[in-house]
Amino acid sequence: MLKRCNKCGLPETYETIEFNNEGVCNICTQNVYKREKIDWDSREAMFGDIIEEYRGKYDYDCIVPFSGGKDSTYTLWKLVTHYKVKPLVVQFNHGFMRPTLNENNIKTFKKLGVDVVSFTPNWKIVKRLMLEALVRKGDFCWHCHTGIFSYPMHIAIKYNVPLIIWGEPSSEYTAYYDYKDDEIEQVDETRFNRFVNLGITAEDMYGMIKDDTDGLDVRDLNPYTYPKLRDLKKLGYRSICLGSYIPWNVKKQSELIQNELGWKGDQVEGMPWDVYPYEKIECSMQGVRDYIKYLKRGYGRVTQMTALDLRNGVMDKEVADRLIEEYEGKKPRSLELFLGYLGISEDEFNKVVAKTVVAPFKPDFDSNQWCEKTWDFDQWYKEDNTKIKENKGA
């Protein structure tokens, strides 16, 4: 049995978690601080001052890194409609964007009237990076973590736009940064190296894969490399989260973008679709990510979402427990696609994941309960998995 927070139910295997004498976790206590101790009016005024400091002085007032999920969509909406800025939207395509997300993005861009730069990195390299990160860290999303946080910084330098505005601060979910000490989270290289890149820089990654990756060019890693500090300093960059200046409220913000922009939620593998239609709709491999998390740490996205609601006092513990019991830990249909991309069998996948399990959790790899297929599953990109075919043939 994992030790869990008395309030939100997050387990001891959760990143950065600590429990106080009452058995309440640090993510919950910092949330109390967020609600009660921070002077949000003065924070909002500070944000207004920052916007004015940069307005009209560069090609764009700011850069908004954009996935099309609820947080970046809300951030863009707020900046354009409330603060009337002229932003450059920067999209890093991780390779798994879904139909509803693409429709949402088109609507958002057209309705708000914004310039957009979109970048899709080399898929062959992405596949190799996913395999390496999975083997080394049990987290195949390295290319996405690093690309999302470094690519917009390169664009900031190229377009000479020093202000970069992200959405949700990490202190909503983890304690790498907290709301205490009036510390305002800077989305910089320190943060990037602290947790975003899983402790693997692009230079490290190049060294790890160069000997067995045909045709790999050192420049292939550029989109995942954090820009040089000097270049960012020369630009006079400032990279901040809107959520450090206005109190982040996921439910309220999701409703708002649905009403204002016609943004739509979606079915996400392994989630109760009626309760959480707004969370992590931007990636067709989300189910695999959450499944690995469950195998490694004994909890998945349902626990994470109910924890947020329990913490904010908008859900009963019994409801949360029922949702977790019913939905968590099931195998996503997307696993087969994922194994196809990486060219590995499920057995090999399980062996890799088994090495990254976080004690004291012990996963059961033989449980073969499947998640329900999402409506768009059959449209997701597929590759032949020769390994699986060979196994079946034998």
């Binding site: 000490d181 320190t190 500090l229 000097r230 270049d231 960012l232 300093k233 020369k234 630009l235 006079g236």
Partner: protein
């Protein structure tokens, strides 16, 4: 132009790199150079007060430095550079500093548990706010390596102190000059912030 004064008193690479990484393009100037184009001057130094004093007064750099200081442009002293802001120093016998800030420089007294030189990380207790310390929180650690410490005649010149056996000023400032006993260029994120702030400072308090 941001300039680093080279009086052959130690290695300038760290301070050069720290300024460069902060997005600026520093230049090295020597005692014979004209400082009229310099917007910000960094005066680093490692070594002996007496030898440095001799070095300064044997050339005309004392006049150049005093002239620069009087012009209101920002001047940063680091370690021995900062100690030379004072009127006098006792290292190697009593000798004259530049006299930009009233006071002297004395040896840290060695005692039980207090080894001299003082080498390593120690915290700076900031007493007075200063534009060059913008964004630096109280009680952050910086890197020290020294055997002598300044003693200021006027309390208002002491911006921050450090305790090592005794309490001594680790940041001093007056008008457009600011001095650091520790090495901001070797003090990671907080040190780099100080250097960047200095490079953007207009010299006013």
């Amino acid at each position: 132009m941001i300039a680093i004064l080279d009086l052959n008193m130690g290695n300038l690479n760290s301070i050069y790199n720290a300024i460069y990484e902060s997005g600026f393009d520093p230049e090295i100037v020597t005692k014979d150079d004209d400082l009229s184009e310099v917007s910000h001057l960094v005066f680093p130094g490692v070594g002996h007060f007496n030898a440095a004093s001799k070095n300064i007064y044997d050339s005309t750099i004392d006049k150049t430095l005093k002239g620069y200081a009087a012009s209101g442009r920002p001047l940063m002293g680091i370690c021995l550079g900062m100690q030379l802001f004072m009127e006098t120093g006792t290292e190697g016998g009593l000798s004259n500093g530049l006299g930009l800030i009233e006071g002297t420089v004395n040896k840290i007294e060695s005692r039980k548990g207090v080894r001299v030189p003082h080498v390593g990380w120690n915290n700076a207790d900031i007493i007075i706010e200063h534009p060059v310390l913008d964004g630096i929180k109280k009680d952050r650690d910086f890197y020290f390596t020294h055997s002598y410490a300044v003693s200021c005649s006027n309390k208002k010149d002491v911006v921050a102190t450090t305790e090592y056996g005794e309490v001594f000023p680790c940041i001093i400032a007056k008008k457009n000059f600011i001095g650091f006993q520790f090495h901001p260029e070797k003090s990671q994120i907080n040190g780099l912030k100080i250097i960047e702030n200095f490079c953007r400072w207009d010299g006013a308090c």
